[in-house]
Amino acid sequence: MMNVLQNIKIKKSIVFLGFVLLTFQSFANHNFKNCSNHEPDSFEFFFCDLCGCSTSSGSFGLGTLNNASFVGVRYIYQTFESKDGIFSNSPTSTENFHTYQLWGRLPINEKLYVSAILPYQDLKRTYTDREENINGFGDATIMSWYKFKFYKKLDEEKAKLYTNVQKEPSGHSLEIGLGAKLPTGKFEQILADRVNPGFQLGTGSLDGILGLAHSYGADKFGVNTSLTYYFKNENKNEYKFGNQFSYASNFFYAISKEKYMLLPFVGLSGNIYDKIEQYQEEIPKTDGNVVNGTFGAEITTKDFIIGANYTLPISHNLFGGNVTPKQSLSIYLNFNLNN
């Protein structure tokens, strides 16, 4: 028994170490040495950061809000239409963002766990007469989460009759997260001068993330809600992405089968961005907000979680209306490390 337990611990440690090493590796690739001035910049909640991922938000998956530890991969596809110019009749460019993420979560004890994401970005932009493509590591995110569990009031009658009455979970849990987004993705000033400032591998800054997540699960359904705030810092180009507030709420229904559980869900999410600043001056037409509708499903088995969701903007006003978010799609596969 001890051996088995130790094996699990070793397995977890290896996975986590791998994350850390990979993150450092990408740091090295992206001139970490140049970071001698100010650096930090922006981030995003559970998995999306403004760069190459400016308008989506999400969670670690519905079935994963329990104390599970996992490692997984996720693919996110997003499309945007941006004005290539400052006029109402300027041509538009179409942007296709492909993001591949390695992500994982590791409990430290009953109440505390750590999550990490390392993205690889492949961003494409098609103009009427030319194409642009950038790819490479994006900004890695690392967060620690503290979980509060809530219990139902003790039945006093029962407590009198029996000596060992267990506290009954209320189904509610609340998590508070604190983390950082690391400048592992490359930031290029020349790209910042275009209409969609989100066309970047990274923000080039070290940013702070504050997260709050609530989940409620009954027998057949549940609701997960998350609020995240990104404190963005200046990068070495004295460029500072606007602070960002993200919110997401998903309602899911649980269909239990013998070997797996199917969780279809619908949800609302959104992002509110402050103006970008450079040289301590606000840049006009760089704030905005977007509200999205999402639907998807997740399948949870003993060993893995597979999920997919589709997101469509309901209302938006990004960068002075010059950037139009289109649909986005996300699929993920997580391996349960608890077994």
Binding site: F16, N37, S88
Partner: protein, 259 residues
């Protein structure tokens, strides 16, 4: 698990200490500035001849030519200090048909953070009174571009031509507004000062670009409203020319500055 905790802690600590703050930069030397003049009609990029634009009342216009003289450029920094570009090099002709002419490159600008720009439309009396020889190469440039009536009559500061129709004028009819000073009798030279949306940071190593948009809709619908049916051709006019000059001055806005 302890090892993991230490790893995370050291990782975060390292990331934070990697970036320390920078000392206040000392700005010296000279750099360049690019001034871009981009013509529009309301919110649309101006298209010559092909696009039909609504002007006043039932009038529809197709614009075939837009040219103006930009001169006497001055930049003001955040301390309120003004840098005047050398006068002899400070006369330019911007033409909608010549893309190169829409980018004015200024060199030997003292490095600073500039927050305002001032320029004139046309040629000031001081310059004009230097006589034909005092104009240098600019005289030939203006003649070649059709920006002069004659030496005695002077420079055309602004040229705006095209075709229009209206409920009254149903066949396409030519219009032309040519505005300038009339010798030394009427002075229509006017200057415009614009605040920059964000500061233009001139450095030896960085050339900011100030993107100015000129909205030509302001010519017919500016401070003064002009109906082409009233006067489709305005050249030398002691009353209307100054009004056009005011409308021209009001058409400029700084859209953004790239650093």
């Amino acid at each position: 698990m302890k090892i993991t905790k230490y790893l995370i802690a050291s990782f975060i600590a390292l990331s934070i200490t990697a970036c320390s703050s920078e000392d206040e930069e000392i700005i010296t030397g000279e750099g360049k500035v690019t001034l871009e003049f981009d013509n529009s009609y309301l919110t649309s990029d101006l298209l010559l001849s092909t696009a039909s634009y609504s002007a006043n009342e039932s009038e529809e216009i197709k614009i075939s030519d837009v040219k103006y003289i930009v001169s006497n450029i001055r930049l003001e920094n955040e301390e309120g200090e003004i840098f005047t570009y050398p006068k002899e090099d400070s006369y330019f002709i911007v033409s909608e048909t010549d893309t190169d002419s829409q980018f004015i490159s200024l060199s030997n600008i003292p490095a600073a953070d500039y927050t305002k720009i001032t320029f004139g439309i046309g040629v000031d009396q001081e310059k004009y009174l230097e006589g034909a020889t005092g104009q240098g190469d600019f005289l030939t440039l203006a003649q070649d571009a059709g920006m002069m009536w004659s030496w005695q009559a002077g420079y055309k500061f602004f040229v705006f031509e095209g075709l229009y129709t209206s409920d009254v004028t149903t066949t396409e009819t030519a219009f032309a507004f040519h505005m300038g000073s009339h010798g030394s009798s009427v002075d229509n030279y006017k200057e415009v000062t614009l605040s920059l949306t964000n500061s233009a940071r001139v450095r030896t190593t960085s050339t900011p670009e100030i993107h100015v948009v000129a909205d030509l809709a302001n010519i017919l619908s500016g401070t003064t409203t002009f109906l082409l049916d009233d006067a489709a051709q305005i050249h030398v006019d002691a009353v209307k020319s100054p009004q056009i000059a005011t409308n021209v001055n009001g058409m400029f806005v700084v859209d953004h500055v790239h650093n």
